[in-house]
């Protein structure tokens, strides 16, 4: 009897403790939410930019916004880039994501965008109220961006899915003090040959002065800025030959053309691109394939390398840390007159097609979408954009916003020709990119140029096309699912149009969606057809 009473007492105590604990947790979260709801609307935005200056700039702008809207609280969540992808996807799938999430870097698939982000077309068509007293007053919000927000438009989803805040152009940073010591002048090289000669001179100077000096700092983060760019110079002509649309942006044309055998890795343009990458790779910090962005910056800032290729977003941070005068010049381009690499080129490379960055998407999980969009409007108004550039040292994506003097060298060069494709087809094919990246060491090996280029070509011939096929299959599956989703929209428009046959806006919407579905399906079936047609061959032969 006594034992039984003890058991019941134990159970009662256990249940009571459990109930109190649960109650306390529930009470706390409910209290928080209720209090927050009573007090303030919270807008949270997440990004992976941990560079000094930027977070402070965002924080200052958020503080300005909160002063303007006392009922709103803006929270910044900075997550390291290395884990941002997994973090953001987990948050999105779990329905706990912040209101605004950075969608740069192609980390989100079409499915992710459609499922977890809110289309912004209705907002971007109306003027930005924070531009009221500026020349941009009355303009649709989208027209206040450098690219007219075309980079944020997804043609398969028929809407805008992000609002950019910045612009990344890549440049060569150089240590002017070291440069003067080596060359007796601070003038940077004028073209590709001068750049190569400078690299060789730096190595020779290091050897004679018993100082291990490397021309270019490198890492898996920085180096692609240079080698993808140089690669693209060699496929400028090829891009025009294989593209099914002649716009400046990358599309799937090169990928399908590879399946069709319209180019392959023995193509003179590709061979020339491989040689060019090898050429420049010889002057990059040894072992850069195992180094990270911080390692490269560290080497440059310590004066162990003379140059560093990076984006405009790095300028403020480097300037703050360097104890030497910092110089900046454009990435070296061989030019059409170059005896070796000129034949494949059309001319100097334009940055007019550059896609603005620092783009935030509005998540479906947002509890305050209007407020979140309002914060984005504030952030991208002309006055705030100018303040953002001044505070952060980053270029802004907003057109006509004043650019601080130190950012002038980073402004995009609009004259010239669009660069051609690289092996990641501008990051559209993650698996194919993996093959290109993991075999890059073959191209940089310490053997002869011919051997390394042949080894890299052979590795790509073996592994690239199967990976590309997987990427294309995945893409078509995504598009198919999206078309299925849009079918519902189409049916809804159709149903509404029956009820209001004279509604011109509805009719236009219906036609737009129908046309887009047709376009997407046509492209999908074409790709599927080409995938099926070329399924047996590993790598189609070169065109005659």
């Amino acid at each position: 009897m006594k034992r039984r009473a003890l058991v019941w007492a134990g159970l009662a105590l256990f249940a009571a403790i459990y109930a109190v604990a649960t109650f306390r947790v529930l009470l706390r979260s409910t209290a928080d939410v209720t209090a927050a709801r009573d007090r303030k609307t919270t807008v949270r935005f997440a990004h992976f930019y941990l560079e000094p200056g930027l977070r402070e700039a965002y924080a200052q702008i958020a503080a300005d916004y909160m002063r303007l809207h006392p009922g709103v609280e803006v929270e910044q969540i900075a997550v390291p880039q290395r884990i941002f992808n997994a973090w953001a996807k987990t948050q999105l799938i779990g329905g706990t994501s912040p209101d605004l999430v950075l969608v740069d870097g192609g980390q989100f698939t079409l499915e992710d965008l459609a499922r977890h982000f809110t289309p912004l077309h209705e907002w971007v068509e109306s003027p930005n109220p924070y531009n009221a007293a500026t020349p941009a007053a009355g303009l649709p919000w989208r027209e206040t961006f450098i690219d007219g927000l075309t980079g944020s438009y997804d043609s398969r989803l028929l809407s805008y899915y992000s609002i950019p805040t910045s612009l990344f152009t890549n440049r060569v940073f150089y240590n002017r003090a070291l440069w003067r010591e080596i060359f007796g002048t601070e003038s940077p090289p004028a073209d590709y040959e001068a750049f190569r000669a400078a690299c060789a001179a730096i190595e020779a100077w290091g050897a004679t002065h018993d100082q291990p000096l490397v021309p270019l700092a490198g890492s898996v983060y920085n180096t692609p800025f240079l080698i993808d760019f140089l690669f693209g110079t060699q496929t400028q002509r090829r891009q025009f030959e294989v593209a099914w649309s002649a716009h400046l942006r990358a599309d799937l044309s090169p990928s399908v053309a590879l399946l069709q055998g319209r180019w392959n890795f023995h193509d003179p343009a590709l061979q020339s691109a491989f040689r060019l990458v090898r050429d420049i790779g010889q002057h990059i910090q040894p072992g850069f394939l195992q180094l990270q962005r911080d390692d490269a910056n560290f080497a440059f800032l310590q004066g162990r390398t003379v140059m560093l290729v990076s984006g405009a977003h790095e300028a403020a941070s480097l300037r703050a840390q360097a104890d030497f005068p910092l110089g900046v010049f454009a990435l070296p381009v061989p030019g059409p007159g170059h005896p070796v690499y000129g034949a494949q080129m059309l001319g100097p490379v334009t940055e007019a097609n550059i896609r603005p960055a620092g783009a935030f998407g509005l998540t479906r999980a947002s509890r305050a979408p209007e407020q979140a969009v309002d914060f984005l409007r504030f952030l991208t108004s002309q006055a705030t954009a100018a303040r953002f550039a001044a505070l952060s040292g980053w270029l802004t994506a907003v057109a006509d916003a004043p650019v601080p003097a130190e950012l002038k060298p980073f402004q995009p060069v609009t004259a010239g020709y669009a660069n051609g494709f690289d092996l990641s087809i501008r990051r559209r094919h993650p698996d194919a990119k993996r093959v290109a990246d993991t075999n890059l060491h073959l191209l940089l090996a310490a053997t002869s140029d011919a051997q390394t280029v042949a080894a890299y070509t052979a590795a790509l011939e073996r592994d690239y096309v199967p990976a590309l096929r997987l990427d294309l299959q995945s893409r078509t599956a995504n598009t198919r699912r999206n078309v299925m989703r849009q079918d519902g929209n189409l049916a809804a428009y159709r149903w509404l149009a029956r009820a209001a046959p004279d509604d011109a806006v509805l009719a236009r919407k219906f036609n737009e969606v129908a046309e887009q579905i047709d376009g997407n399906e046509a492209e999908n079936y074409f790709i599927l057809h080409e995938l099926a047609r070329t399924a047996a061959g590993a790598n189609p032969p070169a065109r005659p």
Partner: protein, 318 residues
């Protein structure tokens, strides 16, 4: 006298049924956070799923695809090498445990145990970054050591003879940027391979050996090496088996080390790609969560099989 009633074991088990209520919350939490995700992975492995609500039933297609996935099977070769390395890396821990166990002074034994535990305070990530720095081609300790000892020149000469094409004069050794050196670097990682937890587990096993066993061995004239092979090793096989099982599971599942050292593609030539890393790559880079679940299940099958083999063949003679 009351006749004795033979009660069934079920009745005995349920006699104090209320006591089971104590474990219900824990069971619920385990079911929610351990079994439900696992069951969800089994379910989603049959779908083309990108992590959202929409999914398309594929049947066994993900497993058929995995069967032909060269990267996946290459990653199993890599992980087999890593398991082999880790088996070798177990030996210093066993040796150290035996040495500490044989110390006559209890105070010294205690001191060494404390010294072993102290480094456990350092977060694993910090250790990892320290090792990453050691392997840095330009500043790393390993390359400096090779240069200072003249070993680099010897390696370069060997390379010329054998034609490896890995070591060259005037070029720093890229431990993680040359595919040929990725696995050797992962082998070197953690040198001298003393695992504090492992040593403490072996010590617990060694301390359970009675002094009479040692006295009998000494009477039989068995030396220190003989004692190890005939007494200590056979009697700590239970601990060895436990460590072996944990090691196999952690090596097969693990990918954090490779992800941080080599990136999500497994580094140059994909030499550091492990099944876990490929699963991560497919899920978070390609957005193929369904296929990643299928890889997870294949991995589970391998781990289960190896654990069964381990339990079947590694047995204590106690």
């Amino acid at each position: 006298m009351k006749p004795r009633v033979r009660r069934s074991s079920l009745a005995v088990a349920f006699r104090e049924w209320r006591l089971y209520l104590f474990v219900v919350p824990s069971l619920c939490l385990v079911a929610l956070f351990a079994y439900f995700p696992a069951a969800s992975a089994v379910y989603h492995s049959l779908f083309d799923w990108q992590g959202g609500e929409a999914k398309q039933y594929l049947g066994w297609e993900n497993f058929r695809r995995a069967w032909g996935d060269r990267v996946l099977w290459d990653s199993f070769v890599t992980v087999a090498c890593l398991v082999g390395f880790n088996l070798i890396k177990m030996l210093p821990s066993i040796a150290l445990a035996v040495v500490i166990h044989r110390l006559r002074s209890e105070r010294w034994q205690y001191l060494y145990r404390v010294l072993l535990v102290v480094p456990m305070i350092v977060p694993g990530l910090v250790t990892l970054f320290i090792w990453k720095f050691y392997l840095d081609p330009n500043l790393g300790l390993l390359n400096r050591l090779l240069d200072a000892t003249g070993l680099k020149a010897a390696l370069v000469s060997l390379d010329r003879l054998a034609g490896w094409g890995v070591f060259a004069e005037g070029v720093p050794v890229g431990w993680l940027s040359q595919p040929e050196l990725v696995l050797p670097s992962l082998f070197l990682w953690g040198f001298p391979w003393i695992g504090a937890v492992g040593v403490l587990i072996y010590l617990a096993g060694l301390q359970a050996i009675g002094t009479e066993v040692y006295e009998a061995a000494e009477l039989d004239g068995i030396g220190p090496v003989g004692k190890f092979f005939h007494i200590e090793l056979p009697l700590i096989l239970t601990q060895v088996r436990l460590n072996l099982t944990l090691l196999i599971i952690s090596t097969l599942q693990g990918y954090g080390l490779q992800l941080l050292l080599l990136g999500d593609t497994g580094g140059p030539g994909g030499r550091g790609m492990t099944p876990g890393l490929w699963m991560y790559n497919r899920a978070f880079l390609a957005g193929e969560f369904g296929y990643a679940c299928a890889i997870g299940l294949i991995l589970f099958a391998f781990i289960l099989a190896l654990t069964l083999v381990n339990n079947r063949f590694v047995r204590s003679r106690r």
